[in-house]
Amino acid sequence: MADIQQDIRPSRLHRAWNSDLGWSFRHAPVAVASTFVVLLLIIGAVLAPFIAPHSPFDPGSLNLMNGFTPPGQANQFTGDYFLLGTDDQGRDVFSTILYGMRISLFVGFAAVLLAMVLGVTLGLLAGYLGGWTETIIMRVADVQLTFPAILVAMLIFGIAKGITPPEYRNEMAIWVLILAIGLSDWVQFARVVRGATLVEKNREYVQAAKLIGRSPFAIMLRHILPNVLNPVLVIATISLALAIIAEATLSFLGVGAPPTKPSLGTLIRIGQEFMFSGEWWILFFPAATLLALALSINLLGDWLRDALNPRLR
């Protein structure tokens, strides 16, 4: 039965594979390679508790004497062996990268989701309703654009940290990061969606929907939104890379993830102190991972933009 159905209607995956986008993907080696790298890193992060040989977030399991073990060599005091070496606290760099990537990716995805929901909603409202709503939303967006996103994120982080009770600070740090990066990044989405909405709202299908008496919210959600999603998808991909870098930047500056739960940025911050003294691996491996992750997502976003642009087909 299942076999017969599959013969008649190809599976979703199969259809996606044979679509225009799928064809374009198969013929872009860069996109294929990027996807491979991103998937590999995401799988590594998700399965970190099963793959990682050590648990770097459990301070009780660390042995300080393992500190500064070079990659692929036995520690001079304990004789322990670490694939990518250890940092200054005796944390296994490989395990810490896997766990750190979990934080980086989680913060990245969640922040982009927040920025997307916020930006798309406000963009739709501004574009469709116009008038005062549009003026207020877009002026706020303009004002926010004049500040660098990282500054806005630091500001939000600082305020949020100030109002959280100290005993919850370490647990809240991740959520505050998401909030800070998400709120600093919604403007891109709002601008693009507003622009596209302005175009779409004068199309016949919207007029028709208005005529049959659908509510403005139904029109925005069911009719306009699906038609403005393509550019949103492209921005979301590129924003993801930027959000991961923003998280790394904040943690590098020491205002992000707590030092006992290092993300990629925290690891790079720790590592750069030992740049001159020859302990290169503490900096190199996390930085290379961050680079691979951000670059792959960016390349993927580039490809998606080109593939979805009808003029470039």
Binding site: M65, F68, D88, P166, N170, T260
Partner: protein, 524 residues
């Protein structure tokens, strides 16, 4: 490849040197907290003040007494409760005003006032009186043989200048106050303040009318002082010739700096101990997960924590050998220190047993406040301690921040568990007791954020100031230490080792106080 970068760096360093032979570009991790000379009793704050302001007596770069604004001093012949100071004549402040006995009376009274952080050093003084323009008498409540050593960081301000600029009262640092004296200075010192941007840059220039023109080298004619918090950036600045002198070479980069042509590292044990303080006096802690009681109030918990810290591992890995594990919060320079009290060992099993005995076999969680720009590898030590305390079930949430935010927590009694380092400019235990052991009160205990309070100990501490029989005094010091050690008021970590990095032409030895006084610097 590596050789060429070394060469390039050396070349860069030497060319920039010849271009700035008289300017000393000086960097360290953290900035002075304020220019108000009596507002903060803190090392880097005093160090910067020493260039501009002067006390009556200073310690030279080896730690020996030297006459500064006073030429000589002695107890009064017929009254042992009075010290007489003869002041240097013809000294002028940078704005041209004369330095007189009136300024001394004003400055000492200012340093004894409410907001002052120097009160503990002066609490034996009942009156300061000007006999004539260049003679001052200090009246103490009972004979105080060590009074002069309490005055080496007590700077003399100009009364007229302070009155004209609304700076008569000491800046209230905990209250977040800023006054004219916070960012301006008018001293008698060898260098005049040209500009000051806190945490960015401070520029000073040679005082042409300095009284000691013929007594000191005064080779440096301009000082550019820039705090560089990040360790790697600080070293890079020295390696690239951007600065001539850094006060805190990161331990991991000692070899790299010393091997570089044109640069030297000078190392000496510092008169400073790094330790943790625990709020044992409060009924309940603000930042723990135990309700209704204070786990740190239990001596067994404090002892367990002390046993859990592996100081040798911290020395080996975090400090790369550049520290001396400590069992007492007094450095070996200090009168009252004994090798026996300084001994300490790690015993996780015994620590766990003590935790169980105290009823905390499941542990508890607590916040540790730690500076990240004050002591050598301060944050890394705290992080390592988080791991060590986790082994006896204590979950430590680490909050590391710049000292400008960290120190107010301690002086404001707002922390449960904190890192502090204490240097002892008087070389005597009394200084430690006055600030760190005596019950917190109006004129003593201002840095004792532990809540430790013992009336008998307080009594003994107060008796030290006027005890003239040295053997008896030392016996009292020993019995105070016995209580402090037995009660485990603090968890000592180590005595710090100083590493100064400089270009080869800077001729200066490391001072145990970590307080370079630039007027002593010789440049070839």
């Amino acid at each position: 490849m590596k050789k060429t970068t070394f060469l390039a760096a050396a070349l860069l360093a030497s060319t920039s040197l010849s271009a700035s032979a008289e300017t000393l570009r000086w960097a360290r991790a953290g900035d002075s907290l304020t220019l108000d000379p009596h507002a903060q009793n803190e090392g880097p704050t005093h160090t910067l003040a020493h260039q501009v302001y002067e006390p009556l007596i200073i310690r030279d770069m080896t730690g020996a007494f030297q006459a500064a604004l006073a030429t000589d001093w002695a107890p009064k012949a017929d009254d042992p409760n009075v010290w007489v100071f003869n002041l240097r004549q013809g000294v002028k402040y940078h704005d041209g005003a004369d330095f007189t006995a009136e300024d001394v009376v004003f400055s000492i009274n200012r340093a004894k006032s409410d907001n002052s952080d120097m009160k503990e050093l002066l609490n034996s003084i009942t009156e300061v009186r000007a006999v004539d323009d260049h003679t001052v008498e200090f009246v103490t409540d009972g004979p105080n043989p060590i009074l002069p050593s309490n005055l080496t960081n007590l700077f003399m301000m100009d009364k007229g200048w302070a009155e004209a600029n609304d700076a008569v009262t000491v800046q209230d640092v905990e209250g977040g106050e800023k006054t004219f004296a916070t960012t301006n200075a008018n001293g008698t010192g060898a260098y005049k303040l040209v500009s000051r941007e806190p945490d960015v840059k401070t520029v000073m220039t040679l005082n042409e009318d300095y009284w000691g023109k013929d007594e000191f080298p005064l080779d440096v004619t301009e000082i550019v002082y820039t705090p560089i918090q990040n360790a790697a950036t600080r070293v890079a600045a020295l390696l690239s010739g951007e600065v001539d002198f850094i006060q805190d070479v990161p331990v991991q980069d000692l070899g790299r700096v010393d091997e570089t042509d044109g640069l030297v590292v000078k190392t000496a044990p510092q008169n400073r101990t790094i330790f943790f303080g625990m709020n044992q006096g409060a009924d309940d802690l603000a930042n723990d997960n135990v309700d209704g009681k204070n786990p740190l109030a239990d001596k067994r918990v404090r002892q367990a924590m002390n046993m859990a810290i592996n100081r040798d591992a911290i020395k080996q890995v975090v400090m790369r050998g550049q520290s001396q594990p400590a069992g007492i919060i007094a450095p070996p320079f200090v009168n009252g220190w004994t090798a026996e009290m300084d001994e300490v060992s790690t015993d996780i099993d015994a620590a766990k047993a003590l935790m169980e005995e105290a009823g905390y076999s499941d542990g508890f969680s607590i916040q540790l406040d730690c500076p990240n720009d004050r002591y050598v590898n301060d944050e890394a030590i705290c992080q390592a301690s988080v791991g060590m305390l986790a082994q006896i079930g204590i979950t430590v949430n680490l909050d590391a921040k710049p000292k400008a935010q960290h120190f107010p927590l301690i002086s404001g009694n707002e922390t449960d568990f904190y890192m502090l380092g204490w240097g002892v400019p008087t070389y005597d235990s009394e200084y430690i007791f006055n600030f760190l052991v005596h019950t917190r009160g109006s004129d003593r205990g201002s840095w004792n954020s532990t809540g430790f309070s013992n009336a008998e100990v307080d009594q003994m501490i107060q008796s030290l100031a006027s005890e003239t029989d040295l053997d008896k005094r030392n016996a009292t010091i020993q019995s105070i230490w016995d209580v402090v050690q037995e009660e485990q008021v603090y968890i000592p970590i180590h005595h710090q080792v100083l590493n100064w990095g400089m270009t080869e032409n800077v001729g200066i030895e490391v001072s145990p106080e970590d307080d370079p006084k630039i007027k002593f610097f010789e440049l070839d």
